[in-house]
Symmetry: D2
Subunit: 335 residues, 4 copies
């Protein structure tokens, strides 16, 4: 089996994790790393003395000994870099969010299809044991029909100067939501504010789905505490995913509601069922490693990944809708 030869463009905050994991995979050969910042390359050189390092991104994107490129740069550069890579016949693994606009995403998807190349968008959380377990519990009917998805992702920082908290944090929640709900949304409402610089630093995004299914995402760069919690309500069981728990990340509650007849002013209309709680064991493998391995397999086998350009495009459309809604203090935006 010939390993896939990968060039990595971008060695800033996330790039080193990409290189480290690719390096450890048997079916991969990291051919080159490009970054416009020589200091970033210096950091890479200390860990991988033998690696080809360059400030010339275009060279890597065009290099004949590269089969696929990983683009780990700021979002506003994704389109040009990915376009060049695809035009040069390279498969593309690209950081989230996919692109800065949905038009760009559509163009890349079309181009990849035309050239029969793979695009994978780095929605890393989809490869965690937790998210895979949640999807499994929905798919096998354990939870019953979905009621809602309510995700909170708040902490102090990390401010970025090129994007708002919506484009920085919400892609995680929206890609997970897209994956576990698995149907197209109807409308987006987003509210929020910015306090420190010109960027929105906290936002509340509601996504409406058919059949009264609703999702809500709370993202905030100005929280004194770190929270990574998702509640999923459904008819038969309910679920809490607390990603900061070391061991019991997912808890499934045998809880539910039953509508009953009621009489008298203070009587309840509904009754509640409350049973055991169950924390299924969740696979602890590093998600990024599993994801990159899957990328290499898709490249080798010509398979379309489930987190492909279309998945990336769906998330970008939601981000755009959120931006439009935010700009008008919560106007409902159909999608």
């Amino acid at each position: 089996m010939t390993p896939v030869r990968v060039g990595v463009v971008g060695y800033g905050y996330w790039g080193p994790n990409i290189v480290r994991n690719l390096h450890a995979l048997d079916n991969c050969q990291v051919v080159a790393v490009a970054d416009t910042n020589p200091r970033a390359l210096e950091r890479a050189r200390r860990i991988y003395p033998g690696l080809r390092l360059t400030t010339d991104q275009a060279a890597v994107l065009a290099s004949p000994d590269v089969d696929a490129v990983a683009i780990v740069t700021p979002v506003w550069t994704h389109f040009e870099l990915a376009k060049a890579a695809l035009e040069n016949g390279k498969h593309v693994f690209v950081e989230k969010p996919f692109t800065a606009t949905s038009q760009q995403a559509e163009q890349l998807v079309e181009l990849a299809e035309r050239k029969n190349l793979r695009i994978m968008v780095d929605h890393t959380f989809l490869f965690t044991g937790a998210v895979r377990k949640i999807r499994e519990l929905i798919d096998n009917g354990t939870l019953g029909p979905l009621y809602y998805f309510d995700s909170t992702r708040v902490n102090l920082g990390l401010f970025q100067h090129d994007v708002s908290v919506v484009w920085d944090l919400a892609p995680h929640d929206l890609s997970i939501m897209d994956y576990v709900i698995g149907q197209p949304p109807e409308a987006v409402v987003a509210t929020g504010a910015g306090h420190v610089n010109s960027k929105v630093d906290m936002a509340f995004i509601t996504v409406y789905f058919p059949g009264n299914v609703i999702a809500h995402v709370n993202v905030n760069w100005l929280s004194p505490v770190k929270v990574r919690t998702t509640l999923i309500g459904a008819r038969d069981k309910m679920l809490v995913w607390n990603d900061l728990e070391a061991d019991e990340k997912i808890k499934v509650y045998d809880k539910g509601v039953k509508v009953t007849s009621a009489e008298g002013v203070y009587d309840l209309l509904v009754s509640y069922r409350s049973g055991d709680v169950w924390a299924p064991r969740v696979d602890q493998t590093e998600a990024l490693k599993a994801e990159l391995n899957y990328f290499l397999e898709c490249v080798m086998d010509g398979r379309t990944p489930f987190n492909d350009g279309q998945a990336g495009l769906r998330v970008v459309r939601l981000l755009e809708a959120a931006d439009r809604s935010l700009a008008e203090r919560g106007r409902t935006v159909a999608v």
Copy 2:
């Protein structure tokens, strides 16, 4: 000192707490309890064998030996009961939410003013040690200028057949928000859905204030876990109030953000300051007792309580705005 003679109308879920606390106060005499449900009166009789009990609410509202009435009935009955009480010259303590419409609230406020009578709306949380401490930390400048108020109040049940989760749970958060932010809001956006019966059972309410101050309230009757947490962000310090903590309900974080110059694509625009955490001791006196005592004092001294009819009206207006916004999937409603 002559004690205030109080008649209580309504002995359902909350009424017993009102009667128990009034009973224990020295400056109060509980004269009569009325409830249309004879079984409710039977429960009262077992605990207070000597008390005057009646199914005739109007009789209590008109009784010459009653100085003030506590109205602890469903919200749709508040207006008629309070109106009768005021017309009969009685001071009024009324359960939250104040009334079913803002027109009703305005009428009652006007009537009380004309008759020089007191109205107090039972926003119990304003009398907890936690909320009083939060207000103190804001008033004395410890937190610095406010950025946001983000409150989560979710649990499984209690469904009521006459109101939605917005009118059931959100009055708590909105009255606290009104109290600690202390300025008039500009606009409301609410999203949500109903899954079990025709009522909205989960809702997300954003309230915009001048100067980029923003509030968010997450209320949900369908959560598998109980959460009662409020984050308050401000320039100098940040605060978390977890009402389910037995001992450290409030934590003040010496955390903040400073905008700094940045260079290079991945550099941060801002830096973070992270210091000690401090959990001030919070008074554990039962809030309802303190509130009722304050009501009696206001009645005796002719003082206007801070949680008066105007305060109740402000909350009802926000609830109405939330309802209008919800009905159109998040339309922005100016207030």
Copy 3:
């Protein structure tokens, strides 16, 4: 069915709970309450205006209209009061610890047997849903053979001037240990110290059982935090009981150890199995109510309760052994 007529002796800290629960039970009539402190009786009078109240304990113990007495006084008075009650032909419900010495306990057990009367010692925790669930999980083999029982019960206060922390808090843990382990111990080792007055205010008690089963109890009146946690290790599954958790008091861990062959200096001798976690629903009925109801049933049916004088005697023997061990800084005391 004629209700059991009960006289209560002692209306201090715990007595009001006894009276309140007896009062609410259908098969019981609270005939009289005695306390040597008139102020205690005054408190009782306010709640139960019709009740016979007296400072004459002996009168209640001898009253012909009393079938059974509940003794809720300091431990050093238990023997004389219970002896008088039994001699007068009354069944006895007595606060924990049963008596101040094992000789006293033995005498009372012998006397009750001779007069065919019931003694029940108030080991309230044995009637909680949590302890009953733990016993069930052991009895039905879910946990497999027991390895250990490790209980921590610490908080700030409540100091009592007549007993040490061992006699105040450890009876809870030792009675639970006795109930769930269900076999006679072999030896006791206790260490500890006193810092504030002459009493031991923190202690560590080890109890050895046959077959390498071991129990440990950590009791402390000087802890800044309240902890109520018991770990139970066993061959097939392990269990944590956190009594301060509102909802998930018991968690069962599908964890275990398997001895395997090992090679090389740093290799492990054993491997670990780690599976799901399960929090069974636990009955939330007030334990004291269930216990008192059971007492009344035992009295009416002539049944011997499982928490009888023998059970109380076993706990007192362990407390005496702990005291002897403590006095000599941890000498091993065979029991």
Copy 4:
């Protein structure tokens, strides 16, 4: 400044952390790594291609270009390796516990003194921000006179085939205890049991100090949950260190006890003071890095480290006393 040239003996579980940290320090040059297991060396080679690697431990201990050796091997090998190193004139950094017997420790201490060489025992926790903060709060009088030190270190595994849980886990707690209490103990009592193989897998160690100061250590390889918590009681304030907390590792409680006069049987002898809680910011630097840097400084400056052979010897004496006590089910062992 000439860097210190270090040879590392042992590249098993902990050795890689030593090498990684030494590698990153400016004032150090890692000259060689020895391990009797060629597979361990293979792992080292992949990360440090240029490093001298050998299965010949003696060669490293004797190498003329080595100034100091780090001994990161099983405890039963420490004595021979450290002795050889010292005899060859090398400074010694050695894994905890220092040696397998106190006689060995005494010999090494004597030898190092005679040859004017440094010994440092790797009590890593003494270099964490948390332990340094605790020591500071004691030294500056914030806590007031100490009452007790109560440490719990339990989890599932890691079983080692050459030592018991006492020699594996308790050195952490005993070295911290030694550091923060800072006075010689009087007696040791240890209880415990073994369930899986012949080794003790859970133990409870009490250490008596002068003046009613008492320490307790609970170590357990068979716990379903991981706990790393130390309570420190003192006259003026109390402290909880939870090492598993990401942010608020240390909490200082303004709590205390005051003896007061009492009257009446149930009255309290003491009153409690309960004020604010304070979580001081704790330095998050990697402890091992700080410790190794300090070792290099001590070597270069000829300073005696505070965690020297004497400190290691004190811990070994406590471990031996615990073993003797355990063997006789808790006999009190004077130290």
